[in-house]
Every structure is written in C-alpha cells, then in structure tokens.
C-alpha cells in the first residue's frame, strides 16, 4: 500500500513539474513572440579620434586610435577602426631578466551591421600585428529585440587565430587559437532603470605562455611553461539608474572562473551628472581581486611540468578611481561634436609575487589617460 502511495505521489509530482515546464515554455514563447512589427535601429553615424596613454609598472603604452561608422543603405552600417599601441616596456619582468624594449602594435578592424526586422546582426573582423605577435579574429553577434522593445537577447561568437614569434630567434614559431561564446540579455526594468546580464565562455588552445618570461624553481630561472589549453567562464551583471536630476548611477559586478583554478571578481560603480549647459562629469571606482593559477609559484619548491611566474596569474587585487569630463562643443540638428577627457588611477598589490630586487611583495600604481573627440552626424 505504502509503495502504491509513494508511486502515486511521484507521478503527481512529475505531472506538476511537467505542467510548470509547459507554462514556462508558454511564457518564453510569449516573450519572444510579442510585437514582431517593431524594427531595431541601426547605430548612429559617428566618428571618434582618440589619444590614449597608459603608464604603470615600468610600462608606457600610448598612441592614436580612430573609429568611423556610416550607414551605407537603409539596413546596413559599416564601421572601420585603427588603433596603435606604442609600447615602451621596462616592467619588473623585463628589468630583472632581460633588457627594456620598444615595439608598436597596429590594429585594424572592420564591422558590418545589418538590421532585419527587430534583429541587429553584426559581423566584425580584427587584425592586430606587432613584430612578434600576429592576431586575427572574426566575430558574429545577433541582438534580438523583443517584448515590446523592453528585452534584448544577445548571442555572439568570436574565433581568433594568433601567430606567436620571438625576437632574435627565427626558429621559434607557435600558434594560439581562441573561441568565445556569448549569451546575454538587456532588460528595461522601469522608465528609469536598465539591467543587463551577460555570460561568456572562452576556450584557448596552443601556446599560451610568453617566450621571454622565466619562472623560478629553487631560486633558479627556468623557462615558464603554461598548459596549452584553457577554458573559462564569466558572468556579468550591470544596472543603470536615472536618478531624476540629470544624473545616473552605474553598477557592475562580474564573477570569473577557469580551469587553471583562477577565480576573480570585480565590482564597479559610477555616477554621472550634467552640469551647466554643455558639461557632463563622471566619477567611478573599480575593485578587482583574483586567486592564483594552480601552477603559479613565486619560487617553486619542486620541479613540475607546468610552472609560471607570470604575475597576471598570481594572487592580487587592484583598485582604481576614475574621472571623466565631456564638453559638448557644437550641437545642431545635423550633428553633435564632443570633447572628452578621462583619467584613471589604479593601485595593484600582489600577495605572492616578490620584487627580487628588494625582497618585498610587489606593488605599483598606474595612470590611464584618454583624450578624444567624438561626433555623431
């Protein structure tokens, strides 16, 4: 008798679960099916010209960057960008194990946006070249507006292929392949609040180390050796709220984990406010922390197959404060031109990476500056 009751209860529970699933499916169908007639919008025609500067930990990277976007038909928009990184590197890795160097990275990218009903499809291709590293990638993103324009579902994929070389060693040549899969949703919550939730899975295969960096085993320098595969996941939640006095609050939290045992979190918050007629000010704060990779060691007590002293894979935290000012230089019915200046100060503190010159745990401050003109027309 008891067995029959149990079986009846299990059957009823199964039926309830099935009905719940069907209701959820109906809800999903309703969300995706509502208001088909609404068409998505192409991005505005725009242009940006920027000078960017980064200085910290003995590294200086600066250069110009350009981006132009133009509609070419009712449903198509083309974009093209050029980005230069002129790097002068005297980082702690370099000054303790090699010689400072200078090199320049050139990056070109082209994008095509296409609107079909309420779907926004973007294809992009990027080509980045520096003397010892060539990276090419292609991406496809689809954003589907639905639920009366309140919800946007995003799907994306990027495939990258890199060629890794080494200065003064023509015999060294390797590759790295990358796959990135994105899924996200943006949601209008109220007339004054927006939310987005994004997830991304990444996989890498190939040479993921640096041919120049060395690790330490019993105090002796040995070439670093990272695993040739890596797989990671990240989830990011953002909220933006209009506070009602020509000002807004931004919040972001991200959680990251990978199969090298690294776990990381970052939290960012910002506040934007218009003042006077043509000025906009933003202030922001960002906190980031991560745990080390399984094979990372400041000075390994045993010789292992995989070994790294890459401080990017160590245990550390950084905290940054930033400010941005935007001035609207000209605004007409046809076009708008804005001048922008951004500055961010970040402090990095490492928990298990020693400055071998002093024997102390390593830390440094960095400054980031952006000066740019942006226009929509």
């Amino acid at each position: 008798m008891a067995v029959t009751d149990l079986s009846l209860k299990q059957r009823r529970a199964g039926q309830n679960r099935w009905q719940l699933l069907l209701k959820l499916a109906t809800l999903l169908g309703g969300v995706f099916g509502l208001h088909h007639a609404r068409a998505a919008d192409l991005p505005e025609d725009s242009a940006e010209a920027m000078f960017h500067y980064y200085n910290g930990g003995g590294v200086t990277a600066d250069g110009p960057a350009l981006l132009v976007r133009k509609k070419v038909a009712d449903s198509f928009s083309l974009s093209a960008g050029y980005y230069i990184d002129a790097v002068s590197n005297a980082s702690i890795d370099v000054v303790t194990t090699a010689s400072p160097f200078r090199e320049t990275r050139h990056e070109y990218n082209v994008g095509l946006d296409y609107i079909y009903r309420d779907a926004h499809i973007t294809f992009g291709t990027t080509d980045s070249t520096e003397p010892d590293y060539v990276a090419k990638s292609n991406s496809l993103d689809i954003a589907q507006e639905t639920y009366g324009g309140m919800t946007t579902v995003n799907l994306g994929f990027t495939r990258g292929e890199d060629e890794v070389l080494k200065h003064r060693d023509p015999s060294f040549k390797d590759f790295a392949s990358h796959w990135q899969y994105r899924l996200g949703v943006s949601q209008v919550l109220t007339p004054h609040w927006l939310m987005s939730l994004n997830g991304e899975a990444s996989s890498d295969n190939g040479y993921l180390s640096s041919p120049y960096r060395v690790a330490r085993v019993f105090g002796a320098a040995v070439p670093e050796n990272d695993p040739r595969t890596r797989s990671s996941r990240a989830i990011d939640l953002r909220l933006i709220g209009d506070l009602g006095h020509r000002d807004a609050l931004h919040m972001e939290v991200r959680h990251f984990w990978d199969n090298w045992a690294i776990k990381a979190n970052n939290l960012e918050t910002g506040y934007s406010r218009y003042f006077a007629e043509d000025w906009l000010a933003d202030v922001s704060m960002r906190y980031y922390r991560q745990s080390k990779a399984l094979f990372y060691s400041d000075n390994a007590p045993s010789d292992t197959l995989y070994i790294s002293r890459n401080r990017q894979l160590s245990t550390f935290k950084d905290i940054g404060i930033g400010a941005k000012v935007t001035y609207t230089l000209k605004k007409t019915a046809e076009y708008t031109v804005k001048l922008n200046g951004t500055w961010e100060l970040t402090q990095y503190k490492f928990d298990d990476f020693t400055d071998i010159r002093t024997g102390q745990l390593y830390s440094f401050n960095s400054n980031l500056v952006q000066l740019y003109v942006s226009a929509t027309f």
């Binding site: 099916g33 920027m50 990056e107 990218n109 009366g148 990240a234 990011d236």
Partner: protein
Amino acid sequence: MTRNGFRLLILLCTVQLGGCAQLPQFPQFHMPEPWVKPYEREALADPIMQFSGDPLSAKHFEHVHVVREAARGATGVEGGGCGCN
C-alpha cells in the same frame, strides 16, 4: 521517440506557439503586457544610460584590463582581448 524526446518536442512547440496565441489548455495564464511603453523611455535614451561608454574608450579600458588581469569576457565590449604577448 523516447518519452523525454517527445516531451522536449512538445516544449519546443509550446515555445513557438506561446507567442502566437494563448493556449486553450491554460486559460488562466496571461502573458503580462510590456509595462514600460516606448513613450516612457525618454530618460533611458540619454547617453548617460549606456551600458558601455564610447566605443574607443571602452575598448581601451578593456584592453588595459585584459592585459593585466586574468579575468576576461562578459563585459559586452566589442574588440576586447589582448592580441599581444
């Protein structure tokens, strides 16, 4: 077709049909109407309500972070990544 396969097929069909009509077997279920109308979204259209800043600026920040931190992805910024060693 297995029992679970059949259920999966019914679920997929329900997702498709859900947007077209209310299902007669669920008369009590009504899809909520979008509660923020287009004419109520003026504040949301302001540039300060963008998830990412200007594209070049966001790309530069993303590049600086990806080069120095192990975490990556899910930021919604186009053209992130390193492309360097």
